[in-house]
């Protein structure tokens, strides 16, 4: 019989996501998919399965889950407190979730979107080639209490694997290339845009992230009327109130607001994962540099499976491994959790 993952209690922003639904832009549907696709690659590497395997995306907080059989899970993206029947779990790692045990995932401590992956993936019926919910388009829905999700056949068997997450948490410098209306903004405005310390506004979702700043808004010279044209994820729209709005994968396909620039794809997860209050700066780079950065990023994603390491070097010698906080800021960064055993 197919194993199921039951949702005992769902946080408010839980949805099934994969790498999205390409190919429908001409009909008004953007790709959608995980807000932080890097997390899908990491989860897939940890479980030894394809990166387009669907996972549960958890916006801000997790929930409580129970499986009908012994299953493998992996946790990636925004770090959240997690435990199985009270035993704490290490984030960015794979674990065994025994049948009937309760997996509890709390609020995000660093980042915005956490991911729960399962061995074999979720076997819900795909719609138009994808299992992603695209809520703004009316595809799929948010996951709820008492949902029961069928799981696919799990081929590989390892758990207790970990990897160092690709750098993308806590905001920081975000690289941008010129876009279609960049030069409609004066050089002064563009300079000020790059000098401003932005923070993620509370008005952020899978369609876009509004940026907050202390000073005046940004505006183009004079009244710019733009005929609606294509929007791509990463475009930074300047809306009527002058606040930049970074568009994400679930954005609309076309729009008429001027775009001051476009975040390059490899830095978009940094925008998605910036938590409330994290500082973001925008930095223009030339096209050639953007291409080089993106190429390096793609090869990093491809090499993730080779970076997966056993969580414990010699499990027989380590008691209470699950009790160690290997990643959380709750322990000193200098502390070596393995020290006392040496």
């Amino acid at each position: 019989m197919t194993a199921h993952l039951g949702i005992i209690q769902a946080g408010p922003g839980l949805s099934l996501q994969d790498l999205g639904r390409p190919g429908f832009r001409a009909q008004g549907l953007t790709i959608g998919g995980a807000a932080d696709p890097v997390a899908l690659y990491e989860g897939a590497a940890l479980l030894g399965q394809p990166a387009d395997t669907a996972a549960i995306e958890m916006a801000g907080s997790g929930g409580a889950f129970r499986a009908s059989g012994d299953i493998r899970i992996a946790l990636t993206g925004a770090e959240m407190a997690a435990n199985i029947d009270g035993d704490p779990l290490i984030w960015n790692a794979s674990h065994l979730l025994p049948a009937g045990a309760t997996l509890t995932i709390g609020g995000a401590r660093n980042g915005s979107y956490g991911y729960l992956h399962v061995g074999g993936g979720f076997d819900t019926p795909p719609q138009m080639g994808s299992r992603s919910s695209h809520l703004s388009a009316g595809l799929g829905r948010a996951l709820q209490d008492e949902d029961s999700l069928p799981l696919g056949q799990d081929e590989a068997g390892q758990v207790g694997m970990t990897l160092t997450p690709v750098t993308r948490f806590g905001g920081g410098a975000v690289r941008v290339v010129s876009s279609m209306q960049t030069t409609s903004f004066s050089q002064d405005t563009r300079d000020r845009f790059c000098q401003t310390q932005f923070s993620r506004d509370a008005r952020a979702n899978r369609m876009g992230v509004r940026m907050d700043q202390p000073g005046d808004g940004f505006a183009t010279e004079g009244q710019l009327t733009i005929v609606s044209e294509v929007i791509v994820p990463g475009d930074i729209q300047i809306t009527g109130d002058g606040a930049p709005f970074v568009l994400m994968y679930e954005c609309q396909t076309t729009g008429g607001y001027p775009r001051i620039g476009t975040v390059i794809p490899c830095d978009l997860p940094r925008v998605a994962q910036a938590q409330m209050g994290a500082t973001i700066r925008f930095e223009f780079v030339e096209m050639a540099e953007a291409i080089a950065l993106q190429t390096r990023f793609l090869s990093e994603l491809k090499s993730l499976p080779s970076k997966v390491m056993p969580l414990v070097r010699d499990p027989a010698n380590i008691r209470d491994l699950l009790g160690y906080q290997l990643i959380s800021g709750a322990v000193s960064a200098q502390a070596n959790p393995f020290e006392e055993e040496n």
Partner: protein
């Protein structure tokens, strides 16, 4: 030499070919015809293509395929034809979509007629016999922007938003019509109601319309629409279609 068409990169996501800086029938036709030509060229680096009102977007991973070579190919293709005078691509469809004008189903017909400076009967006569083309699809999946209506219908959007019009609502502004995909707030005036579903996610053909298709919205009574709703669960809302050659 003219500033148009323009070829520009769009982030690292692709290349945009624009035929004008504002909506016009020839520029829209150029975009539709040029997209068909790009699709026919079947360049391996192009993942998908789409049009907005007056531009064509080619989705290309510019980290994998640097833009220069593609820009050159686009310039060659642009030079092959006078795109502003190009015929529309083949394979389009003409739809007749039964529509209730006015009544409580579409409460802003009279207001729209007033804004257009005609009486309601004239408004219905004009709107129900105008043949419009899908200029572009966007905002919501499968949602068509259709035009252009006569100059009479060059009416502005409302100052305030209508909180919500239902799926299938026919709305008007700036010489264009929209059939709403989902219930949505709008600044356009709700003049007609159809049972036509533009997006059918579980159907084998999820999108009813394509850019370039043409539509007419013949007037039916509320009773006729109710009958259609009761009988037709295909999503077509009683619409008939024929191939355009």
């Amino acid at each position: 030499m003219s500033d148009w068409p323009q070829i520009r990169t769009v982030g690292l996501s692709g290349i945009l070919v624009s035929f004008a800086d504002k909506m016009s029938e020839p520029a829209n036709r150029a975009a539709l015809a040029f997209r068909a030509a790009v699709d026919a060229a079947d360049w391996p680096e192009v993942a998908e293509t789409s049009t907005s009102l007056v531009s064509v977007f080619l989705q290309v991973d510019l980290a994998e395929a640097a833009p220069d070579a593609l820009v050159e190919k686009l310039q060659d293709l642009l030079a092959l034809s006078d795109w502003l005078n190009a015929p529309l691509p083949a394979g389009r469809t003409l739809w007749h979509v039964p529509t209730v004008y006015g009544t409580e189903l579409a409460p802003q017909l009279e207001e729209a007629a007033e804004a257009a400076g005609v009486d309601p009967d004239t408004a219905v006569r004009e709107l129900s016999t105008s043949r419009v083309r899908v200029l572009t699809i966007g905002f919501a999946p499968g949602q068509p922007y259709m035009g252009e209506l006569s100059e009479t219908w060059n009416i502005p959007r409302q100052q305030a938003l209508t909180k919500s019009v239902p799926a299938g609502a026919l709305v008007v502004a700036i010489r264009q019509l929209i059939i709403f995909t989902n219930a949505s707030p709008t600044g356009w005036r709700h003049i007609g109601q159809t049972a036509f579903r533009t997006f059918r996610p579980d159907a084998s053909k999820p999108f009813a319309l394509s850019p370039g298709d043409e539509l007419v919205f013949p007037s039916v009574t509320q009773a006729e629409l109710a009958q259609i709703r009761a009988k037709d669960d295909s999503g077509n809302g009683g619409a008939s279609s024929e191939a355009l050659t």
